[in-house]
Every structure is written in C-alpha cells, then in structure tokens.
C-alpha cells in the first residue's frame, strides 16, 4: 500500500503541470487561436517565478507558502504578458499562428538562459526544495485517500485540481465560457450576436498564457533535482 501511494504521489507531481498546461492549450484552442507557444510561455513563467523565489530566498524577505503563491502570481502575469505577443500577432496582425508560436518558442529559452547568465552568472538557478508538505494535518489520517493525496503533497497539486474544476464550470456553465467557445466554433455567428470575437479570442489566449506560465512554475518548483531551468 505504501509503495502504491509513493508511485501515486510522483504521478501527481508530473500530472498536475501537464494538466494545467493542457487546460491552457484548451482555452486558446476553444477561442479559435492555436497556441503553439505554450512551451515558450511555460519557460518564461518558470523563469520569472523561479528568479523571484530565488531572490526572496536569498534575502529572507518572504518565505514559505506565501512566497510560493506570490511566485505563482508572478509567473501568471509573465505568462499573460508573453502570450499577449502571440495574441497581438495572431488576432490583430493576421499573422500565421504557427510561425508566431514557433518564434516565441525559439525566443523564450534563449532569452531565459541569456538573462539568467547575465544576472546570476550560471544557467541554472538554484532553488531550495521547501514547498513540500510532508503531511496535511487531519486529512492525511483518512484511510487510503490520505496517503494518496495528502502526504508528500504540494500546494500546487490542489491549485491544479481547483483550476480543472473551475475551468469546467467556466466553460460549460457561464456566459463567458459559452461565448468563448462560440468564437472558436463559429465566429461569424458570434459576431452577428453582438459579441466581439476579438475580445473573446484575446481572453482565450491571455487565460492560456496565464495557465501556461503557472504550469511552467509548477513543473519547475518541484522537479527532483531542485535546481531548475535548462
């Protein structure tokens, strides 16, 4: 039983970032823009998030899960900013979405490594593994489910699951979600109904960027070697 729980814990570790980024891809795809630049957005999000956490850990201004949450917020903002480049190109500039996405994918790792080298001197930014929760109080005592979900867990696991549920509700139950889907499926009809297709697509791509940036940091801040980037 213990060994199965161990396996499940590492499965979760790898599954959550994949899931968050897949949701990112979905939001963009559903609004009618192919977001091939997810990979680059992940790198940018991970980069700024890790850089922030690294600096804070050095100066002791912030620590613990407050630091992690701020880092996640920063990587989301970075993701939004970076993917807005894709949004401008794809929606306003009639650009080929494959090309602009590939371009952003090529740019991001180069930029991250370049800046990391300029600021820190090495390509890898070290990061202490302080975000692991050994045992969630009370909940870890639940038989079977306790060891599976609430031991050796990360806060980001629960954030990821929450995002999954929220995405499902937003996309199928809210006015915004339905409009987003209609912009992807039948933009002419959306336009005729008085909804701005451009706005919907912007929303899709920017949400996608935020989630991709988040996914990047989630992936990085718990990968085994604890020192991240490239």
């Amino acid at each position: 039983m213990v060994r199965i729980a161990d396996v499940f814990q590492s499965v979760l570790t790898y599954a959550i970032p994949l899931m968050v980024v897949a949701l990112a891809g979905m939001f963009s795809e559903r609004s009618g823009v192919i977001n091939i630049s997810l990979e680059g957005t992940m790198i940018m999000g991970a980069f700024t998030g890790i850089l922030f956490i690294h600096t804070m850990q050095r100066t002791d201004l912030m620590s613990g899960h407050l630091l992690l949450l701020t880092g996640l917020l920063i990587s989301m903002v970075t993701g939004i900013l970076y993917s807005s480049l894709h949004a401008i190109a794809a929606i306003n500039m009639f650009a080929d979405q494959t090309i602009s996405g590939t371009a952003l994918n090529i740019f991001a790792p180069a930029f991250a490594v370049f800046v990391a080298r300029s600021i820190i001197g090495v390509q890898q930014i070290p990061l202490g593994n302080v975000f692991r929760i050994a045992k969630v109080p009370v909940l870890a005592e639940i038989p079977i489910l306790g060891p599976l979900f609430f031991e050796n867990a990360y806060l980001t696991t629960y954030i990821g699951i929450a995002i999954l549920i929220i995405s499902q509700i937003v996309l199928s139950k809210t006015r915004f979600g339905l409009r987003l889907k209609s912009a992807g499926e039948y933009p002419q009809a959306t336009d005729a109904a008085g909804v701005s297709v451009v706005k919907m697509r912007y929303a899709g791509v920017l949400i996608s960027g935020a989630l991709a940036g988040l996914g990047g940091l989630i992936l990085s801040c718990r990968s085994p070697p604890n020192s991240v980037l490239m």
Binding site: A89, A95, I99, S100, F107
Partner: protein
C-alpha cells in the same frame, strides 16, 4: 505570358522576410549593446563580418570562414527542405528531429559495418540508407494521416521520442557505443569533397553541401514543374477538392511525408559523413537540427529556393554567434534574433497588405486619369484583349503594378488557404 514570366523574378514575396531580417538584426545589436556596451562595437563587427573573415583564428583566410558557413548550412538546408516541403503540401513535419536522428544512426551503422564495400563508394550506400531510414519513419505519420486522418503533428512529435530512445538503445545493442565519450564510435567514411577543400582550405566544408543544393533545386523542379508536384500542392491547398478533381490524395499525403522524411534523414547522414568527427551523443535530448529546420522553412517562405538563402543566412548567424562567444557574449543572442526575425516574418501578411494597399493606390491614381476601358484593363490583367486595349498606357510601369497586385493577392489567397 509576358506577365507570368516577369512575375517569377519579382522580389515582392521575399520583401517581408528581408524586412524582418533587418528588424531582427537590429534587435540583436540592441541586446548586445545592453549586455556589454564596452565590447559592443567589436562584437557587432565580429557578428556581421566574422563569418566572412574566418572565426577560429584571425590569421586564416576569409575562404575558410565561408567554408565553415557552408558546413553549418548543410543540416539547416536539408531539414529546412524537409519541413518546407511538407508545409507546401499542407502537412506540418515537426518530426524532422527524429528523422534526422534515425538517418544519423543508419549512416553511422552502414559506414562502420559495410566493410565489404570499397571505402570510396561506402558513403553513397550509407547516405542512401540514411535517406531510407528517415523516409520510413516519416511515412508512418503519412500513412496514419492518409488512412486514419490522425493529425501528423501529434504522430511526428511522438515519433521524435520513439526514434530518439530507439537510436540510443540501438547504438549500444549494435556495438557502436563509445563508453568513454558517451557517444558513437568515429566514422572513417566520408562524402568526397568534390574539390571544395581546395577552394575553402582548412575549413569543415563537405561535399554534402553540393548534394544538398542539388536536392533543393530538384525539389523546386519537382514541386513547380511536374504534375506530381502540382498534385502535392493541390492536396495541400484543399484535400477534398483535390480528390474531387481526381487526384489520389492519400498517395500524395504519404509521398509528401515520405519525401520530407527522406530530406531530414539525409541531413543526419550528411552531417555524420562529413568527415569532421561528428558523432551521436547518447543522451535523452532531441537533436536541435529539426527545430532549426522549422525556422529555416518559415523564413524561406516554404519555397525550395527561398530555403537555400534562408539556410545560408541562418548558418551565417550561427557562425557569427560563435565569433561573439569568444568575447564573452552568450550564444543565445543568436536564437533570440532568430525568434524575433520569425515573429516579425509571421506578420508577413500584414506587411504584404500594406504593400498592396500602396500598389493599389498608385495604380488607381494612374487608372483614373484614363478612360473606363483602361480601368477595366487594370483590374483584369490576364485578359489578352484588355491588355491590348491598354496599349496607350505607359506599358512598363502599368504592367509592373498589375503584377505586383496580382502577385500580392495570390500570396494572400495562398496564405488564407495554407
């Protein structure tokens, strides 16, 4: 007829690429200045002129630098052709890396194991084997696309990893592994230099570059001058319409994917048979050549001849990047520049639109000064009767504006469909 002939030499389609290259270079220079302004002048000079003056040693002749550039051009050109060819036929071959890897492995395997064949001919067999390996790998994706409509992006990405892990395993299993250096054993067989080593002394240049350029030209002829190529492009524009027109669209998809794989496989073979001591590193990383190919193909507008120039330019940038590395600048600046260039060139449609608006305005102001019949002639250039009616107009400028408009419109149409 005259119109068509002159259109072929028009620079208009390449203009957006040239503009984006300029913007990218400018951005790169700005990054260099920000990074270290004290050495910026020297770095920019080295970046732009280094490839032409030889990099590793300032004493060597400029021809050595150009020879090295031609060597770096080989994989860029071949993978660029691979991706571009598939693009032209409506497929996105993101699996060039895997095909490259398969080709590299088979080339090394054949070069080392086929000791029965004389050394002077062995390279040909090894190269053919490399091409075949890439072709087989890519045709898996092609067959799945043709018969089961599986998205070729997904299958070829997955085949990338399949190929990489398989090759890493096979290197050990077939006794090609060098445990000390964690890579494949060296290969003695090499593609003959065809006298290029005398032209570019002391450089890495390999005869592969001539083969690659010949293949690019063959690729152009195949795509634009044969029925087969026409069918491939037609399927790329609209698969269903092509089937309606009697084209065997399944065969076309498989063939175009297989040929794309052939080019990528040959890229692997050429680089490892170039006689410069390249070997496959045994690690779990996809070779970057396949992804470079995407950038080259997009910059070259997916046109075989455009890809030749795009790959030459990228090789120039890569060699330039190595020269500034010696000054302490990170080579990533080059990748950043490539990213910016691609990003701007993605907006080619916008640039073309701006250009076409200008061209239209010019032609309209001209046409308004003449009679109605001539206005009609402006908008319908292919009609020979109408062109004859427009004889009174100054023929040169009028024709060229018409051509510019029709070329631009065609390109925009093409972009919409592609």
């Amino acid at each position: 007829m005259n119109n068509l002939k002159r259109k072929r030499f028009s620079l208009t389609p390449a203009l957006p690429s040239l503009i984006s290259i300029l913007i990218g270079l400018l951005a790169g220079i700005i990054v260099i200045v920000i990074a270290d302004s004290s050495k910026a002048l020297l770095a920019v000079r080295n970046l732009l002129l280094g490839p032409l003056y030889g990099i590793y040693n300032p004493n060597q002749s400029s021809l050595t630098g150009i020879g090295n550039m031609l060597f770096f051009m080989i994989p860029l050109l071949m993978t660029g052709l691979s991706v571009g060819f598939a693009f032209k036929t409506g497929l996105f071959n993101i699996g060039a890396s895997g095909q490259f890897m398969a080709g590299s492995y088979v080339a090394i395997l054949l070069a080392r194991k086929l000791t029965g064949i004389p050394n002077s001919w062995r390279w040909l067999v090894a190269l053919a084997g490399a091409a075949l390996a890439g072709m087989l790998l890519a045709s898996i994706a092609g067959i799945l696309k043709a018969f089961r409509n599986v998205n070729e992006v997904i299958t070829s990405i997955m085949l990338n990893y399949t190929s990489m892990y398989l090759v890493n395993h096979l290197i050990r299993a077939t006794g090609l592994y060098d445990p000390l250096k964690n890579r494949t054993l060296p290969v003695q067989t090499e593609i003959p230099k065809f006298g290029l080593d005398k032209l570019f002394p002391k450089s890495f240049v390999s005869g592969g570059i001539l083969i690659a350029i010949v293949i690019a030209i063959i690729c152009y002829v195949l795509l634009y001058k044969t029925t087969f190529g026409f069918e491939l492009r037609a399927v790329g524009l609209n698969r269903h319409a092509s089937r309606y027109a009697g084209i065997n669209e399944k065969r076309s998809i498989i063939m175009s994917m297989a040929l794309a794989g052939l080019f990528a496989g040959m890229a692997g073979g050429m680089i490892h048979l170039a006689g410069v001591g390249r070997a496959i590193q045994v690690r779990d990383v996809l070779p970057p050549e396949g992804f470079d190919g995407i950038a080259v193909a997009l910059l070259g507008l997916n046109h075989p001849l455009g890809i030749i120039f795009a790959s030459l330019f990228m090789a120039y940038l890569k060699v330039g990047g190595q020269t500034i590395q010696t000054l302490g600048f990170a080579p990533e600046i080059i990748n950043m520049m490539i990213g910016i260039i691609l990003y701007v060139s993605a907006m080619a449609v916008l640039i073309r639109k701006l250009l076409s608006i200008r061209a239209k305005k010019q032609s309209e102001t001209k046409a308004l000064g003449n009679s109605d019949g001539e206005l009609y002639a402006v908008h319908d250039p292919p009609d020979p009767g109408a062109t004859a009616a427009a004889e009174k107009l100054p023929p040169e400028s009028e024709d060229s504006t018409n051509m510019a408009i029709s070329a631009v419109q065609e390109e925009i149409e093409e972009d919409k469909h592609g």
